[in-house]
């Protein structure tokens, strides 16, 4: 029995909420050129393909709820922007066949776009083989989900071993291991104060000098495990809603793409925000919401230890931030920027007095390095 069935009391709260609307965003697929493969007014069930990559159609986005496609928004050259679905009923796990190898299962059920590469933070090429896969169980919602489904997590991690010759590393913040290590499955339970996936990557298998590592959120690994182990397709994720004070005020189960307006209103955010649950998101924090783009001139970097501590050790933080500010891609590469993606720079942007959005600056530099090969 799935914990998503409506009347079941699962250990981490109520069943999945029924969203007003589900918006599946093409911007959740970095590095791809998605096109819509469904028409407005069509009926969908969880697993119905709604978008796919133009160059590699096997990479697809699937509907996460049953309902009717209300809008298909496209941009230049038929490029999909988003698919909006009006749900009919609550999101829940549905029986599904999980035939084929892990790669086929992930591609067929739209879990593949949850993977991200380091370097560059793109959806990986299905033909590639990474040197390791890191599974992110650092957030509270991810840990709660893993504690509620240890068998599915085990199935998921074992399935991920098919994608790489190297280790599959479950990264968690201290405490008891969420599942026991076995074979190529390793558990990284280091618990430093300032930590994130960039720290684990830097310590365990840096890509600053070559190679590729994939990152997957633990809830996506659980969804894969549920498919392989229980034959259930689960499109919902646990998500923490944070108040403006920084306190976690809600833990909800929601379908990917679900409209978050009601949950945000309940959390008492100072201003209403219209957004949906994005891929790999498990914490909605008003302090991390992107503000309007700023045209202000950047101030100087005050090199304090707190700023250095926001980035992984042995990564030359201040020279890297200076290189990012002036857009010196080659210097940034030498200082280790290939181990980072935008979300790793949030703390640096918050602490630094220069007013720089280092996430955006890093993306510019990564794009330049990727284009230059």
């Amino acid at each position: 029995m799935s914990c998503l069935e409506p009347d079941r009391q699962d250990p981490f709260g109520t069943p999945a909420r029924t969203p007003r609307m589900v918006r599946l965003e093409a911007s959740d697929l970095p590095g791809l050129r998605p096109v819509a493969c469904i028409e407005e007014g069509a009926e969908v069930v969880p697993g119905t393909p709604v978008m796919h990559d133009r160059a590699r159609p096997e990479i697809r986005v699937v509907a996460t709820v049953a309902g009717r496609v209300e809008r298909v928004e496209t941009g230049l050259g038929r490029r999909a922007v988003r698919v909006v679905i009006r749900p009919e009923g609550r999101a829940m796990a549905v029986p599904a066949t999980a035939a084929g190898d892990t790669r086929d299962v992930m591609l067929a059920h739209g879990i593949w776009p949850d993977l991200r590469t380091r370097p560059f933070g793109r959806v990986p090429d299905p033909e590639a083989r990474p040197k390791a896969i890191l599974v992110n169980a650092l957030d509270g919602a991810g840990v709660a989900a893993a504690q509620g489904a240890p068998r599915a997590l085990g199935h998921g991690l074992r399935a991920l071993c098919d994608l790489t010759e190297g280790p599959v590393i479950l990264c968690q913040h201290g405490g008891v291991a969420l599942i026991p290590a076995e074979g190529r499955i390793e558990i990284d339970t280091a618990a430093p104060r300032h930590d994130g996936m960039a720290f684990r990557l830097r310590r365990r298998c840096s890509v600053a000098h070559g190679g590729e590592v994939w990152i997957l959120d633990v809830q996506s690994a659980i969804a894969l495990g549920r498919l392989r182990g229980e034959g259930l397709f689960d499109t919902t994720r646990l998500v923490e809603i944070v108040a403006a004070s920084g306190e976690v005020v809600g833990l909800h189960r929601m379908a990917l793409g679900a409209d978050l307006a009601d949950a945000i209103e309940e959390a008492g955010w100072p201003r209403p925000v219209s957004r949906s649950l994005r891929r790999n998101e498990s914490r909605i924090d008003p302090r991390h919401e992107p503000g309007p783009p700023s045209e202000q001139v950047l101030g100087p970097i005050v090199p304090v230890p707190a700023l250095t501590a926001t980035l992984p050790m042995r990564l030359r933080a201040i020279p890297l931030l200076r290189a990012l500010q002036i857009g010196d891609a080659e210097a940034a590469r030498r200082h280790g920027c290939l181990d980072l993606v935008e979300e790793d720079m949030r703390a640096a942007s918050a602490i630094c007095a220069s007013g720089a959005n280092y996430g955006a600056l890093l993306r510019r530099v990564l794009d330049e390095l990727e284009a230059g090969g």
């Binding site: 000098h209 070559g210 920084g246 001139v297 101030g299 100087p300 970097i301 005050v302 090199p303 304090v304 230890p305 707190a306 700023l307 030359r316 201040i318 020279p319 030498r334 200082h335 602490i351 630094c352 007095a353």
Partner: protein, 264 residues
């Protein structure tokens, strides 16, 4: 934000750098005013006006601020300038230092020298008898809590301060050390050598820079001077500051070379 008060202070340090540095200098300045109000007011008016005027003019030209950073070197110049220096001489030296050491590079924080040390060196060069001096013992003691605050906040790199002390000990010899000089040395190292914008930013670079400052203070000090030779101190800081970018570049080059060896 989570964490104790020290952690919160360290997280806020970059954004509140100017306020913290001014707070650190407030007690010794207050004592200076109390000790000789008649002599201090005109000098304070001159240096603060000159510093703000320079910063304001450049801010207007560039269309960007803020301008209050220049108050930090202004207060340091007031503390360490010789009493016989005229107000206009201080204002001139400070203006030149602010323009040449910071504003031509884009403003405070974009340069690579301690502006206060540069101002005191320019004063000594331009008007030879006017060498910088250590303020009275009581003023120094009043400056120590502020120095501690800067080190706690991370605005004065502790490696530079510690390495500077080691450099002095090594250059002098442990038997020659005068414990009474510990406080003046600490103030010099914290406010000048460990300037957040003048010191290197790499860990090994900070150790090297501190050792260089400590060694040079002893090496450049006049033998006949009793106590700490402040002229030698600011010259040592300026010299180490000139080498700081080179030291950082060297440390990074060595690290890159080692990475290259490790990863082929």
């Amino acid at each position: 934000m989570r964490g104790g008060p020290v952690m919160r202070l360290r997280r806020r340090a970059a954004r509140d750098a100017v306020a913290l540095r001014l707070i650190a200098l407030a007690p010794p300045m207050a004592l200076l005013f109390l000790q000789a109000p008649g002599a201090v007011w005109p000098r304070a008016l001159a240096v603060v006006t000159a510093a703000l005027a320079c910063a304001f003019v450049f801010a207007e030209i560039r269309g960007r601020g803020p301008i209050l950073e220049v108050l930090v070197p202004a207060l340091l110049v007031m503390l360490f300038a010789p009493p016989e220096a005229a107000s206009w001489q201080l204002a001139l030296a400070l203006s030149l230092a602010i323009v040449l050491g910071a504003l031509v590079f884009g403003g405070a924080g974009f340069g690579f020298l301690s502006i206060a040390a540069l101002a005191l060196v320019l004063l000594a060069f331009s008007f030879p008898p006017l060498a910088p001096v250590m303020p009275s013992q009581s003023v120094i003691w009043f400056a120590l809590p502020g120095g501690l605050l800067l080190m706690l906040a991370g605005l004065a790199p502790w490696r530079v301060v510690l390495a500077g002390a080691v450099g002095v000990v090594l250059a002098t010899g442990p038997s020659e050390l005068d414990p009474a000089l510990a406080a003046p040395f600490a103030i010099l190292l914290i406010h000048f050598a460990a300037d957040p914008f003048g010191a290197p930013v790499t860990g090994p670079g900070q150790w090297l820079s501190g050792l260089m400052v400590g060694g040079l203070i002893v090496l450049l000090g006049a033998p006949e001077t009793r106590g700490l030779d402040m002229s030698a101190g600011v010259f040592a800081v300026l010299l180490a500051g000139l080498f700081a970018p080179l030291v950082d570049a060297g440390v990074i080059a060595i690290a890159d070379w080692r990475d290259g060896l490790r990863h082929g």
